[in-house]
């Protein structure tokens, strides 16, 4: 039948395009990861021999350890701050006066679409004025400007589908306004909170451009990778990249897995 044939053709075409896109997305990563397991002292594909030499090198290097520790510390400070501020902003945008809400929303998520170079330059100027450049006092707020929009979006989406009468019910049962939010609203919008937290962590952990403006001696992991690359291309870069990839992919997997579980638990549990 004509109809069935054409739909089958369309389906195959779709499959082919999807495969192509996935290949283009995954292939560079796959090549990188494979290269990281080389036993040689130079990068090549495919590697002539395999080993964990460069992972050992990276994990025992003080430079890599310090920069990884700084990035982790930064992400661990940024994530709760981002979640708290972003959630409060999302509540404000959801519950506040209707007038001007759209404009305020657009303004608050604008760091997502602004070129990071521009943001970085601006923040750098401010940090210089305040004499806080190259410190956590500069890094944390700088990262927050770009992570908070993600929390506003994920928590905002959860709040949009949240039925406010549940909060009212909690209040009429004796809960204070804050108690109602704490005991009822936050648990119900938890998937949005988790998504916002994971986004914040990954973005802060991976952030390069803005931090590059602010850092003089401090080295976050992306900065360390960059400066290493400036001098030499060694397999250690591939190993670090693979480790970073593992952390990011792991968190994303949690995000997706949790989303699935949350979706199901609504019905089953």
């Amino acid at each position: 039948m004509e109809n069935e044939y054409s739909s089958r053709l369309g389906y195959r075409l779709l499959l082919a395009i999807t495969a192509l896109v996935i290949t283009f997305l995954i292939a560079p990563l796959a090549i990188l990861v494979i290269q990281s397991f080389t036993a040689e002292s130079y990068l090549s594909f495919p590697p002539p021999s395999y080993g964990l030499r460069w992972y050992a090198n990276v994990l025992t290097s003080a430079d890599w350890q310090d920069s990884a520790a700084l990035s982790l510390l930064l992400a661990c400070i940024v994530t709760p701050c981002s979640l708290a501020i972003g959630t409060m902003a999302a509540f404000g945008l959801n519950r506040g006066p209707l007038k001007g809400r759209q404009a305020l929303y657009a303004l608050m998520i604008s760091p997502m679409v602004l070129p990071h170079i521009v943001l970085g330059l601006g923040i750098f100027r401010i940090a210089l004025e305040l004499n806080i450049s190259d410190s956590m006092l500069a890094f944390v707020p700088a990262h927050l400007t770009i992570t908070i929009p993600f929390v506003i979006i994920t928590v905002g989406a959860s709040l949009q589908s949240f039925d406010i009468s549940m909060e009212e019910a909690a209040q009429s049962l004796g809960a204070s306004r804050f108690g109602a939010v704490w005991h009822v609203t936050l648990p119900i919008i938890r998937p949005g909170l988790i998504a916002g937290a994971i986004f914040s962590f990954i973005i802060s952990f991976d952030e390069f451009i803005i931090t590059f403006f602010l850092a003089t001696y401090s080295r976050t992991l992306p900065l360390e990778m960059f400066s290493t690359l400036m001098f030499q291309v060694k397999p250690s870069i591939a190993a670090v990249s693979s480790l970073t990839l593992a952390v990011t992919a792991g968190l994303t997997a949690i995000l997706m897995f949790r989303g699935q579980v949350a979706g199901e638990s609504g019905i089953i549990k």
Partner: protein, 356 residues
Amino acid sequence: MSDVEIQSAVKKYGRFTAVDSLDLTVGGGEFVTLLGPSGCGKTTTLRMVGGFVRPTSGRIRISDIDVTDKPPQKRKVGFVFQNYALFPHMDVARNVGFGLRMANCEKSLREQRVSEALSMVRMDHLADRMPSQLSGGQQQRVALARALIVQPSVLLLDEPFGALDKQLRDHMRVELRDLQKSLGISTLFVTHDQDEALSMSDRIVVMSEGKAAQLGSPSEIYESPNSRFVAEFMGHSNIFDCLVEDVSEGLTRISIKGASIFARSPGARKGSTMTAMIRPENIEFAESTPGPDSSAIAASVAGKEYLGSIVQVSLELEAGFSLVARQTNSESATTRRLETGQNVAVRIPPEAVRLL
């Protein structure tokens, strides 16, 4: 002592007045219904009592305490929402126990009272279910138990039967009313359904455009509406403009499109224009065509509707207006034998005509 007292409450949204100086007192375990079409201000009124809407002016008192400026959690009201608003992340027992938890009630006492509340609504066997696993009727029972466990001074119900199918609705009506009576808790109930209001209430407030159009017992509201709005809203089908032709000895002669009909209804002034309401169930059928002396009126059957327990007939009167008559579907009911197009004689007893 009154449980709820609404004193000239006004709620304005910009230029729109949702509630317009409403007064109402509920007490002594009575069941009072706010009845009206959507947008009449009934839900806003209920939400003002619940503390979710702040009146523009006027006072709200609960148990003789002015609560106008108090938040919902300080009012001791039990609120049952239209969609029940059960907490989806808590099982039935935790939903019901929420109010006690907020009151820092000790755990063992809490558990005991939760199980009492659940058995009161016959849900004790489902205590560990999640709300999403419950049917509509079960969810409603949980919502009721949850609202009642904190022993509120007043129960507020916002169209609680809206989401249920008809059979369950009828059942829950009786169940809710029995429970309310046995607890003796004053209740304010919001609905747009006349049947619900008539069958459940001690008193009904019919609301229109933010005002109380009429306040009275179900029979007063149904049988003696004080305005055309109330009459129409309560489902009366025969409402006409009429001219008062003569007033004498308790009998009033009115003319509807030239047809003279007698009414036994006080307060008519000769020559004035009024609204006549004729109740469909009171219209009688004469056996044959009317003689010159009788009060019967000639009509033809324009349509017939079989509704099971009752049979409804629409009649075209010679004077040029139509009338709906309704009879209980018994063996002797005249309407059963009527066919469309048939000529009949109808009699309208003066008691069946009410002038507004």
